[in-house]
């Protein structure tokens, strides 16, 4: 053991094997975003997937709600070090959305209403790992938490779960999105502490 911080540790939190390294547990739901909260009306909402050839598929609010809807219970981990256990969401699996899309692209750029973006590998969005969700804890998703709909990719740091999501663009090359250009990791695995550059 090298140096330690004298007198630190009196108020330590219980450690938990479910908690990734460097995280602490919270019961609150803190908010992190780069700018004002966009307010998008359900009537105006649209979700689009564009492939690397430019083919675009879109869903309205009613159309996406006509797809199979799943309940998701999961832990979430924010790069700012809070984790929250056992959160409950409802939405449509990205597997369902990609089922009829013809693409061989390895990478996705998720785009948000409000102009922000984040990149995610396709393999991190498929196989029951990601959803477009519109309910949290049995209620419509609040705007400050990304409502009316956000991406949910709970096995990555939560900035990859793009709030106010408006679409996914499949691309042949992985490129940094808004958050990644501003210092966050290209992948974002909490168990490997892929926080920053």
């Amino acid at each position: 053991m090298a140096e330690f911080s004298r007198g630190f540790g009196a108020r330590r939190r219980a450690s938990d094997p479910q908690l990734p390294p460097g995280q602490y547990l919270t019961d609150d739901f803190p908010v992190l975003s780069a700018g004002p909260t966009p307010r998008i009306r359900i009537e105006d909402w649209q979700f689009a997937i564009r492939t690397e050839t430019g083919a675009t598929t879109t869903w309205t609010w009613d159309e996406i709600h006509a797809l199979p809807i799943e309940d998701v219970h999961t832990d979430i981990h924010c790069v700012t070090r809070w984790s929250k256990f056992g959160t409950s969401w409802r939405g449509v699996s990205v597997d369902t959305l990609l089922a009829d899309i013809d693409s061989a692209a390895p990478s996705v750029m998720a785009h948000s209403y409000g102009g922000y973006s984040t990149n995610v590998p396709v393999k991190d969005l498929m196989g029951g790992k990601a959803w477009v969700v519109f309910e949290f804890d049995g209620e419509p998703l609040a705007p400050e938490h990304g409502g009316p709909a956000r991406l949910l990719v709970p096995h990555l740091y939560f900035w990859k779960s793009a709030k106010w999501v408006r679409g996914l663009v499949l691309q042949s090359r992985d490129e940094p999105g808004f958050w990644e250009q501003n210092g966050y990791n290209m992948h974002g695995d909490p168990w490997r502490e892929e926080r920053y550059w």
């Binding site: 908010v31 102009g115 550059w197």
Partner: protein, 240 residues
């Protein structure tokens, strides 16, 4: 792109700012300096190896191996009570950073700047205000600082000095106004916000930092007042 390493740091000075906040100057060999508005991570290690990490905004800016932080104590927190009540000069901790490329001010940006702080959200905005004063640039800068009462303000004296160096400050007292204050205590209204900040016609960059509820309501208000959302940068404080 290489991963930012943890750097050993020693506490050089501690200075009380309010009854529940203080500034820490850290001596960090190998620190490469920071842009105004950036933050860093602190890692504390207990004698038995237990560790905790948190993010804090940086109050200082620029090159050098000294870094100033200001820490506001979070009730029933784990790290902030240690940093506010326990740590003293000579103590050891580790830091990683600087972090964040977005909530920053760059000296070569000619935009007018409106800073809006709630409570300890002043810290990164003070860093920006200090940098602007040091740069001697001429673009309009204004600060609006919302605190519960005058004794809750961090860096009040320095903010008054910055006023003389071209950064006018509007004080909002939400719970208790100081004696003789022309403004009664209360939250800032939309009309008041419009009157006290740089108007949309001047296309300012707006930096808002504070507790989540403050940032949410203030960012909504400036957008309602006509500022384009992409000119509004926010940073929200969680707990612990």
């Amino acid at each position: 792109m290489t991963a930012t390493p943890w750097l050993p740091a020693h506490v050089e000075t501690v200075t009380p700012l309010t009854a529940h906040a203080r500034s820490l100057v850290l001596d960090v060999p190998g620190w490469t300096g920071s842009l105004p508005g950036q933050h860093l991570d602190i890692r504390l290690t207990a004698e038995d190896g237990y560790r905790a990490e948190r993010s804090y905004s940086i109050a200082s800016f620029g090159p050098g191996e000294r870094v100033e932080l200001a820490v506001d104590e979070v009730e029933d927190g784990e790290v902030s009570p240690y940093l506010v009540e326990e740590v003293r000069p000579g103590d050891f901790l580790e830091v990683k950073g600087p972090l964040g490329q977005y909530f920053v001010w760059r000296e070569d940006d000619p935009s007018p700047v409106q800073l809006i702080a709630g409570g300890s959200g002043i810290v990164p905005l003070l860093s920006i205000a200090r940098a602007r004063a040091a740069a001697g640039t001429a673009q309009p800068f204004r600060l609006l600082y919302s605190v519960r009462s005058a004794p809750d303000a961090l860096y009040a004296d320095e903010i008054e000095e910055l006023r003389a160096r071209g950064i006018p400050t509007e004080w909002i007292h939400t719970r208790l106004a100081p004696p003789g204050s022309p403004r009664a205590a209360g939250r800032v209204s939309l009309a008041e916000l419009e009157r006290l900040t740089i108007p949309p016609s001047e296309r300012p960059l707006i930096y808002i930092c504070g507790p989540t509820a403050f940032v949410e309501s203030t960012a909504d208000a400036v957008v309602a007042a006509g500022h384009p959302p992409l000119r509004v940068r926010t940073e929200r404080f969680g707990g612990a």
